[in-house]
Symmetry: C2
Subunit: 231 residues, 2 copies
DNA sequence: AACGCGATTTTTGTATACGATTAGATTTAT
DNA sequence: ATAAATCTAATCGTATACAAAAATCGCGTT
């Protein structure tokens, strides 16, 4: 399941840059709002600004990076509204995905899901938060891969990345139960063929993550600033 | 509801190129498979290849243009599989959209929907197929705008564009009932507040369009070519 | 010491140049 | 005459150069 644009084996240079940045964002090594200077990135990956720009524009279209005209690219900071919309879309799409995943269940997939859960548990057990947060997203993508629906898969990949940023910005408590146990339950329902239960569990799982966030409207800072200082 | 990337009033040059190409594709003036040479487009819009490339890459990410390495950009030709996935995704997303649209109904929106239907009927009446096909898609986008969900809106915009290409490639009969009457029924259900009926009508409408297409697997041309010539 | 203004430096936007790849035409050999 | 091979023209991939905008710093004023 290559993430490169062109499906030939050649991992073109812009995909290398894109994937490097994406991984750093997904693992929370690059935080929302971080400036992504073209020259700076170019030096790191030994590429010209032309290629860096292409990579940044791809990420911008995926909603993971924001480009401000004449100011440059930054790691995106989804607004509370965008966050809510992302979760709503995920419930909708992942609901459809699990139904398809149940239909596609097999021994092979059971093994892959098990391996995934093991990897997640391992990362959490040894306190590797960066791997844990990344693997947590990868579970959802694995289910999407099962569903054998290219469009749903690519949509979800973007949504998962945005969710990662959202959690970082809005979570209430420092630690976040990445939900390996939830993932376990969902997996059980899928492999046992219980589509209704699997769907319900998946949606509950997503809603629970959303509930752990504080998405109250901090109405666009600047506008409220006057009110706050007046009150 | 600007379609430009940067939401400031300045319609940057790459958006102009992008929108020009998109409109031509949506109105079926550019057909699937058409080569989109960088220099050629650059001369038309009086822009350098740098800007043209940016526009083409945007359209590629939206699935409306396909870029083949070292060969250039072409108007996309969705495969039957991609076509089916597009329709499935539209049913899912537009189902959610109409429910939200019903919740948002008002006199103002009733008027805008009416105007839209009038414009569609007009275009069909005077035989302006290009406008008709474009307006037909715009109806769905208007409902999405009602739903007040930025993410759903932008997803649907891509799906509608892909649908336009799909219809052109796979429709059975030359003429296609663009479905102003369907749109009328959906509108009635929305303004009357009948969410269940509106959703059912919308999904039926989409399934009917899909049913008018011939999406049988014509197995990837090249692979079958050998078989055909041997037989 | 704080603020505002202007020069300098950095960074982005766009065009263009050059090497690499592909497609098409012409030639050559079977 | 057909098919393979080679050459040529057109097109893409990438780097770089230059212009324009923004950010930074330093200076002088209050």
């Amino acid at each position: 399941m290559a993430t490169d644009t062109s499906s030939n084996g050649a991992p073109d240079r812009v995909s290398r840059i894109r994937n490097g940045l994406l991984l750093a964002i997904l693992e929370h090594r690059l935080l929302p709002g971080t400036k992504l200077g073209e020259d700076e990135i170019g030096q790191i990956y030994d590429a010209s600004r032309t290629l860096v720009r292409a990579a940044l524009q791809q990420l911008a279209h995926e909603g993971i990076v924001e480009i401000e005209k004449n100011r440059g690219a930054f790691v995106a900071s989804p607004s509370p509204r965008e966050a809510r919309e992302t979760f709503e879309a995920r419930c909708l799409i992942e609901g459809a995905i699990v139904e398809r995943a149940v239909a596609a269940r097999s021994e092979t997939w059971r093994t892959r899901l098990d391996d995934q859960l093991t990897a997640e548990a391992d990362a959490e057990a040894r306190g590797d938060h960066r791997a844990a947060i990344r693997l947590s997203g990868e579970f959802h993508l694995l289910v999407a891969e099962m569903a054998d629906h290219e469009l749903y898969y690519s949509l979800l990949r973007e949504l998962v990345a945005r969710t990662s940023l959202t959690i970082l910005l809005y979570r209430r408590h420092r630690v976040h139960f990445c939900g390996v146990d939830h993932h376990r339950l969902i997996t059980d329902a899928i492999v046992s063929g219980d589509a209704v239960r699997a769907k319900a569990l998946m949606i509950d799982h997503l809603k629970e993550i959303e509930a752990e966030l504080d998405l109250s409207e901090t109405e666009e800072n600047s506008a409220s600033l006057a009110d706050i200082l007046q009150g």
